[in-house]
């Protein structure tokens, strides 16, 4: 296997890991924000 | 310190009536020793491997018995009673010395057996004893603290080993390499390092435990 591909694969794994995680986080965050808005609306 | 001694006395008194911890840890040690001995069988393992196996047996025996001292207080609802009459620091020392005595007792029984069964030969005896002592101090220090933590969680038994292992690994690794020197396998230069590491580890883990125990006990 050409070494440059190995390096690329490694690089890809790292970025995929980070982005996958962040994507998950942002999904989570918008869900939480919705819930928070709903809760604070009920207050008033 | 007198109070710590009283707690130690109380725990020994209690232990004498049931012999639960002693039985658990000792039987565990004997069973593992037998298993190791059987699996090696007639092959002659190198002294290097035997040194490592000895510590693995001791580590897992410790894992089977050292948590008992805190788990018992929690499960019989006596922890609160003890809290009402004792300062945390005394409780820690009392439990620490109980575990130390327990572990050394197991070592006194297991190590001669190990010599006999496994063909294990120690060349520098006094050095070996020093290594055992320092190693036991480290195992007990970290083990007692983790025992205090897990006594307040669920799934105590499994958790104890999982939490202890990474924390006890430095002392375990140094003890194995120092034991290696004791059987005459390694150059002397390495010996000093392992001993230094163990002393430093013992001091650090025991100090940290004393400082942190307050939070765990009076949580």
């Amino acid at each position: 296997m050409n070494p440059v591909y190995v390096v690329m694969i490694i690089n890809l794994i790292i970025w995929a890991g980070i982005f996958g995680y962040m994507l998950n986080l942002s999904k989570h965050m918008s869900a939480l924000r919705k819930k928070l808005n709903k809760l604070s609306d009920n207050e008033h | 310190m007198r109070k710590a001694w009283l707690i130690l006395q109380k725990d020994i008194q209690q232990e004498f009536k049931t012999r639960f911890a002693v039985n658990a840890i000792l039987l565990f040690a004997v069973v593992t020793l037998t298993a190791v001995s059987f699996s090696i069988g007639t092959y002659s393992a190198s002294q290097e491997i035997l040194a490592a196996l000895l510590w693995i047996i001791l580590f897992f025996s410790a894992m089977s018995g050292l948590s008992h001292i805190f788990v018992r207080e929690e499960e019989t609802h006596t922890a609160d009673t003890l809290k009402l009459v004792a300062l945390p620091v005394n409780v820690f020392w009392g439990k620490f010395f109980f575990n130390l005595i327990l572990l050394i007792l197991v070592e006194i029984i297991i190590i001669p057996l190990y010599f006999a069964v496994m063909n294990f030969v120690v060349i520098h005896t006094s050095f070996f004893i020093l290594v055992m002592l320092l190693g036991s101090l480290g195992l007990t220090g970290g083990g007692t603290m983790v025992a205090a933590i897990i006594s307040k969680a669920s799934a105590k038994g499994a958790l104890f080993t999982v939490l202890s292992f990474p924390i006890l690994l430095p002392v375990l690794v140094s003890a194995i390499s120092a034991t290696n020197s004791a059987v005459g396998n390694d150059p002397v230069s390495l010996t000093g390092n392992a001993i230094q590491t163990m002393i430093a580890y013992d001091v650090v883990i025991i100090t940290a435990s004393v400082l942190l125990f307050d939070f765990v006990w009076n949580e």
């Binding site: - | 707690i7 209690q14 009536k17 609802h77 609160d80 009673t81 809290k83 009402l84 009459v85």
Partner: protein, 204 residues
């Protein structure tokens, strides 16, 4: 001796147990903590004894005008409760000797004999606690609590597991404690309430 419980609130995670419980008591006072089952009477007692941290608010002890630190305060009070057990495998004497030594009680053998007699337990000193009946265990807890001659006595359900005779003894103890120190009981029993100068109600 002076006990001050200021705006104590306790949550278990999101569940509110009680909110803003405040009272104060000094020598000669007695207080009953009342509330329906599961309202957190026991939790409040545990907080007062420093066995548990309140979510908000503070508990303060004063002795001769000085505020006591946590590590000093525990010498001045005793607690009797169903969740507070003695060492089952040890005998009554071993248990009590251990606790007496831990609390630096001078002349404890005499005191021990006297209290065992008073709680109608003499003769059973050298039996393991696990052979005791639940009523006897409860009486033994009184011996343990009174051993240190506490300035403040906390009692959770004074009558639990006791027969007529036991209750009489306990009541005489409560009367005494009320005179010479502070008495705090958690109860729902109207009989027990006779011992209280005033009541603190806990509820969510």
């Amino acid at each position: 001796m002076y006990l001050h419980c200021d705006a104590v609130t306790k949550y278990f995670d999101e569940k509110l147990i009680f909110k803003n419980v405040s009272f104060e008591a000094s020598t000669g006072n007695s207080i009953a903590i009342i509330g329906p089952n599961g309202s957190g009477k026991t939790t409040l007692l545990r907080i007062l004894c420093n066995l548990m941290q309140p979510t908000e608010g503070i508990v303060k002890y004063k002795h001769n005008g000085n505020v006591l630190l946590k590590q000093q305060a525990y010498r001045y009070f005793s607690l009797i409760g169903p969740y507070l057990e003695l060492y089952e495998q040890l005998t009554a004497r071993e248990n009590l000797t251990f606790f007496a030594k831990m609390q630096d009680i001078p002349n404890y053998p005499n005191l021990l004999t006297r209290l065992m007699q008073r709680m109608n337990l003499s003769g059973r000193e050298d039996d393991p606690v696990k052979t005791y009946s639940s009523g006897m265990k409860q009486r033994l807890k009184y011996v343990f609590a009174l051993l240190s001659e506490p300035k403040i006595l906390f009692v959770d359900e004074p009558r639990a597991n006791l027969d007529e005779e036991g209750i009489d003894t306990v009541y005489s103890i409560l009367t005494e404690q009320r005179k010479k120190g502070i008495l705090i009981i958690a109860t729902n029993d109207s009989e027990d309430l006779k011992f209280a100068d005033y009541k603190v109600t806990v509820h969510a």
